[in-house]
């Protein structure tokens, strides 16, 4: 029972900050309190959410992916070019990308390399490939992705449906499935996972492949929203995804992650930017204000963590 409370407490801060921001946005701009309003507010959060889940899967095994932004940009370029003109080649390239992510996991594990160095190097590879594919911005989104991202489900807007769906799927894979426990175990205590007879290299490869899959989905949904791509389209996603995971209650080490928290974190980040824009804060102050919101949320979490730690000691 007390364990459950700790877990819930962890999720409480991001959920409360999201609710608070949403309330503030509704108050500042009542227009957002509608079907179209919510969709406009959150539809660009869908690819960020997917990228955040991808980053969370990497952080789950105690690694960090600094190539997330360039990788999503590259996927966006593939989606707007090959996936549109030759879907088969397009899907093969994207499958190859996921395989490349799995291979990265294997290399990082076998050679015991620091993931930030490997992924930083890979960020130049993905960036270079994206520029080769689309030297000038362009391309077209495949019709079906465009249809999906602009679809209007009854009652609840697409952006909300997608966010809930992503959270539920990620929650079941990471928190409820047997393999999810092993994956989190790799981050928590690698040796005990190994002693229990699991292959850690296979687990890490799987975590990376899953991350690759979510990052590919991020790139595809992004193009579905923007209609065409640009080699630099998603560079912001590297830092946004890390911030989203942390904001949502995840930690850099120890396999302590929360998929629902990560989705809420990504939505909070998106909403924070909208909130500042509605407040009409001058651009010179916006970065600072965005940082201030992050610090407030993280400070709250730190305070709760302290309480949690005191609770366990008792």
């Amino acid at each position: 029972m007390s364990f459950l409370t700790a877990e819930r407490l962890r999720l409480l801060v991001p959920v409360l900050s999201l609710a608070l921001l949403l309330g503030a946005v509704f108050y500042l701009q009542p227009r957002t309190m509608s079907y179209t309003g919510l969709n406009l507010l959150f539809n660009l959060a869908v690819p960020i959410t997917l990228a955040t889940i991808a980053q969370m899967l990497i952080m789950m095994v105690n690694d960090l992916d600094l190539s997330m932004g360039t990788f999503v940009s590259f996927v966006a370029c593939v989606t707007a070019t090959f996936l549109q003109s030759d879907p088969i080649i397009g899907f093969l390239i994207l499958a190859g990308c996921i395989a490349a992510y799995a291979a990265l996991g294997v290399i990082i594990h076998l050679r015991n390399l620091p993931s930030i160095v490997v992924t930083l190097g890979m960020s130049f590879v993905w960036g270079g490939l994206a520029v080769l594919l689309l030297p000038t911005p362009g391309g077209t989104a495949p019709d079906w992705i465009r249809w999906l991202m602009t679809s209007k489900p009854p009652l609840v807007p697409m952006a909300i449906v997608a966010s809930v769906l992503i959270a539920v799927v990620a929650h079941f894979v990471v928190m409820r499935s047997a393999i999810g426990v092993v994956l989190r175990g790799v981050g928590g205590n690698e040796r005990s996972v190994q002693r229990a007879g699991w292959s850690v290299v296979r687990a890490r490869a799987l975590a990376y492949a899953l991350a690759g899959l979510f990052a590919v989905l991020a790139g595809m949904t992004l193009v579905g929203l923007t209609t065409s791509a640009d080699a630099n389209i998603a560079l912001r996603y590297t830092l946004l995804s890390i911030a989203g995971v942390i904001l949502g209650g995840g930690e850099f080490v120890g396999g302590r992650v929360s998929p629902i928290g990560a989705v809420v974190g990504a939505l909070t980040l998106t909403l924070a930017a909208a909130f500042l824009s509605f407040l009409r804060i001058s651009p010179d102050w916006q970065i600072g204000a965005q940082g201030a919101i992050l610090i407030v949320v993280l400070a709250l979490r730190l305070a709760l963590n302290r309480r949690e730690a005191r609770g366990t000691r008792k």
Binding site: L40, L44, L222, T226, T227, A229, A273, P283, Q290
Partner: protein, 336 residues
Amino acid sequence: MNKALVLSVLTVALFSTTALAETSGKRIALSNNYAGNSWRQAMLTSWDTVTKPAVEAGTVAAADAFTTAENQATEQAAQIQNLILQGYDAIVVNAASPTALNGAVKEACDAGIIVVSFDGIVTEPCAWRIAVDFKQMGRNQLDFLAAKLPGGGNLLEIRGLAGVSVDDEIHAGIEDGLAKHPSFKVVGSVNGDWAQDVAQKAVAGILPSLPDDIVAVVTQGGDGYGAAQAFAAAGRTVPTIIMGNREDELKWWKEQKNANGYETYSVSIAPGVSTLAFWVAQQILDGADVPKELVVPLVEVTQANLEDQLAVTGAGSVTNVEYTLEDTQATIAAAK
């Protein structure tokens, strides 16, 4: 009674010329992706100087400027969607990417919002585009030289940053001009990267290998002053160097003009093009028939207006022009 009637007729006449009635309730937003150099700073300042009086006079209800915290297309797309939610009637955009904002721009159009892009334009067909004709900048240089030096002669070309489309376009314009005026011949070409120090070094490097009868230097802006320094340092007569409206270039030109009657020509784009975009948006809201593709007028500094233009050029800045409603109507009429 009679007086009041005359007055009211006069007021109506006055109001109808400024189209006050139609757009006084409309709100226009500027979505800008970057504010980190002097050109963009001048652009934002111009926006303020022109739109504040327009708001005070009641021409429009609001004209707010928004700059994204970081120069990223995804952030600007989110910003545009937030502007839609804030209920603006028109959004003026200087875009981070010609294509990556198309989804957000489409959302705006679908919501009945007028979108006018300028400088950094967007390709979405429902938006208006105010583009820069860099080719014309190249052609104008040769046209000026042909008028000044009917005999033709050898030219040195200073290009911009290699691999950037702007450099290709200005160069293509210069090639066009050379085809039109075949008496001129480019005998040397260097990259000046639109920076005075780079241009000075590059020109100093190539000068010894060039014939003595260089009559003129064609440039891309931001490189003319450096070229002049290089010629002077080599002890050669300074030829006619085309300038690019930078303050240091115009100042040097004025000094030479006062000392020895030096003659040249200078051309570039004014940061005040943001105000042109503002009036274009206002005109569209007013119901005017505006073509989707407009071209930014080039700002030319000539022998006759050098002093005036230098006076409106801030230290370390570029010659600026703030557009009025009448200028904008003339630009629109010219595009039809």
